[in-house]
């Protein structure tokens, strides 16, 4: 599948935003002064909003994007849109409550955090629900998205704690390291298991010619690349896949962990760890699309 930059940016940045939002509403960062409430709230909104805006960039008609909120009964893309709007409203309401009244009750905070998680789940299901892309159509796909959102969010909390001069506990630092390690651990498993997932379709089943023996493509139906090949026949990544996976793991997992362990909790050090983590997630997300094979490529003679 073609790795569109707008979609890579959308899934990684809003994933980080929703992850951070969940930990913020659960009280992992102390928001005392109005500047802190609006600063942190604004940062979260910026991350989520930038991601969502970016997702409209690849549309043929971005001005009609509002229509995507209507089909939540059947479409995961629509559900994602509706949930994202609800999540942003919940976050705004939460910020107002903290500012005007005080910390909301635990049930409200938990519900808001769950809403963030469900939104990330809906993002992942846009891809995981597609039977046509076998490696996406796997129960571990949503787990990967949720783990990266949670781990990125925790790392961002750690950075905010350092940035706002709040005390950091060793236990929390350990939790961040564990979250990063498990997110990449699940991803490694996903690469092994989901990556080997086949569509179950072959050129014989795609053409109904199984009775004649082995089927081969001898002539494409057009003389130059068409939409289907441009969109779903991306092959460049597979050549460098193993190297890119190492780069993703190094940037997004190993280096941030080392920085968190060695730096001793400076805002600069954790900030760098967060930037590196996001760079790693970008590479991971790029591979998520670029490595994926679509069943239509069977008609063009690719093996599945």
């Amino acid at each position: 599948m073609r790795p569109a930059w707008s979609i890579i940016f959308f899934t990684s940045i809003s994933g980080l935003g929703f992850g951070l939002a969940a930990w913020v509403v659960l009280g992992f960062i102390d928001l005392v002064h109005p500047q802190q409430i609006f600063g942190v709230g604004g940062l979260v909104m910026l991350l989520i909003g930038a991601g969502l805006l970016s997702s409209t960039l690849h549309l043929g008609h971005p001005e009609r994007a509002w229509r995507a909120l209507s089909q939540w009964r059947s479409s995961w893309l629509s559900r994602e849109g509706v949930l994202a709007v609800l999540a942003m409203l919940a976050l705004a309401g939460w910020g107002w409550h903290v500012f005007a009244i005080g910390t909301p009750p635990l049930w409200a905070n938990t519900a808001a955090a769950l809403l963030m998680a469900v939104t990330v789940y809906a993002t992942s299901m846009i891809y995981a629900s597609l039977k046509t892309v076998a490696r996406w159509h796997h129960p571990l796909t949503p787990i990967c998205y949720l783990m990266f959102a949670a781990a990125g969010g925790l790392l961002a909390i750690l950075w905010l704690q350092a940035f706002l001069g709040q005390g950091q506990s060793d236990a929390f630092e350990l939790a961040v390291l564990l979250a990063l390690a498990s997110a990449w651990g699940v991803k490694l498993v996903w690469w092994q298991i989901a990556g080997a997932n086949g569509s179950g379709s072959t050129l014989a089943s795609a053409t109904g010619l199984a009775g004649l023996g082995e089927v081969r493509s001898i002539m494409p139906p057009h003389t130059s690349e068409n939409y289907l090949q441009h969109e779903m026949g991306f092959v460049i990544a597979r050549k460098h896949a193993s190297r890119l996976r190492l780069i993703a793991l190094g940037l997004g997992g190993i280096l941030p962990c080392l920085l968190v362990i060695m730096d001793g909790g400076s805002a600069m050090g954790i900030g760098l760890a967060l930037l590196l983590h996001m760079a790693g997630v970008f590479v991971e997300r790029w591979l998520f699309f670029a490595e994926a094979k679509h069943t239509v490529s069977i008609y063009y003679g690719h093996q599945h």
Binding site: T207, G208, L212, G213, P220, Y299
Partner: protein, 247 residues
């Protein structure tokens, strides 16, 4: 509404005879011609006269080879929307632009609602949908909904453009929901198949596999053998025997 309707009694669709198709591309061209001026925005091209021409087409003819050695067979393979009963392209649509008609099962795109996200094309295992490069909306086979119900056309033209133009009658159009329709009887007689049945999309369109051919060693008597066996008579008998004596 992008939830699928209850399966309709009438299931309009195509039956494509892979035994007959010669890959002439006439259906492809007539499809483009009709649909560039019919339902929705024109089917545009990009770089049409340049080095890398591309564009939106609703029907494409692949060519495959099946079998090995003397039994290998070239099969021309037209591919367009199969108007699936469980159409994944309909349920993934976030706007309601992609829909399946409850009255006849035709899958269509409301181009005024389409945001051009491309998710329906991703969800289609067959590659039946293509984004229009100029209009930014998704294009697909409409089963020529603007022909088949158009009473201003002569009755023989009230069929999809690809069916009307096929010079070999490899394409058939009709109601596959009616077990006694001509197309249903044809599918039953020839063992028509679904494409990628394992994807569970329940396509309405059916493909008729090529008829079994005689084995390579069971070919008819060669022309040479026929000539050898022919016994000359009269003048030619005399020429024949005289030449034999000379030899």
């Amino acid at each position: 509404m992008t939830s699928l309707p209850e399966p309709s009694a009438i299931k309009l669709g195509l039956v494509i005879d892979l035994d007959i198709c010669v890959g002439c591309q006439a259906c492809v061209v007539n499809c483009k011609e009709w649909n560039t001026s019919g339902y929705g925005a024109p089917l545009s091209d990009s770089d049409a006269y340049g080095a890398k021409p591309s564009g939106a087409w609703l029907n494409r003819v692949h060519a495959f080879e099946a079998g090995t050695g003397a039994d290998a067979k070239v099969v021309h393979f037209p591919k367009s929307c199969l108007h699936c009963e469980d159409a994944p392209c309909v349920t993934v649509c976030p706007t309601g632009a992609s829909f399946k008609r409850s009255e006849d099962g035709i899958v269509l795109v409301n181009e005024d609602w389409c945001i051009g996200c491309g998710l329906c094309a991703w969800s289609c295992p067959y590659g039946a949908r293509e984004m229009d490069p100029a209009e930014g909306v998704m294009k697909k086979c409409t089963l020529c909904v603007d022909r088949i119900y158009n009473e201003n056309l002569p009755s023989e033209d009230q069929v999809p453009a690809c069916v009307r133009t096929c010079p070999t009658n490899a394409r058939h159009y009709g109601d596959l929901g009616d077990p006694n329709s001509e197309v249903s009887l044809l599918v039953a007689a020839r063992g028509g198949v679904d494409l990628m049945p394992e994807q569970n999309t329940k396509p309405v369109n059916k493909y008729l596999p090529p008829r079994p051919r005689r084995a390579a060693n069971d070919t008819p008597m060669s022309l040479l053998a026929m000539a050898d066996e022919a016994t000359p008579s009269g003048f030619w008998k005399w020429v024949d025997s005289t030449l034999e004596k000379l030899g």
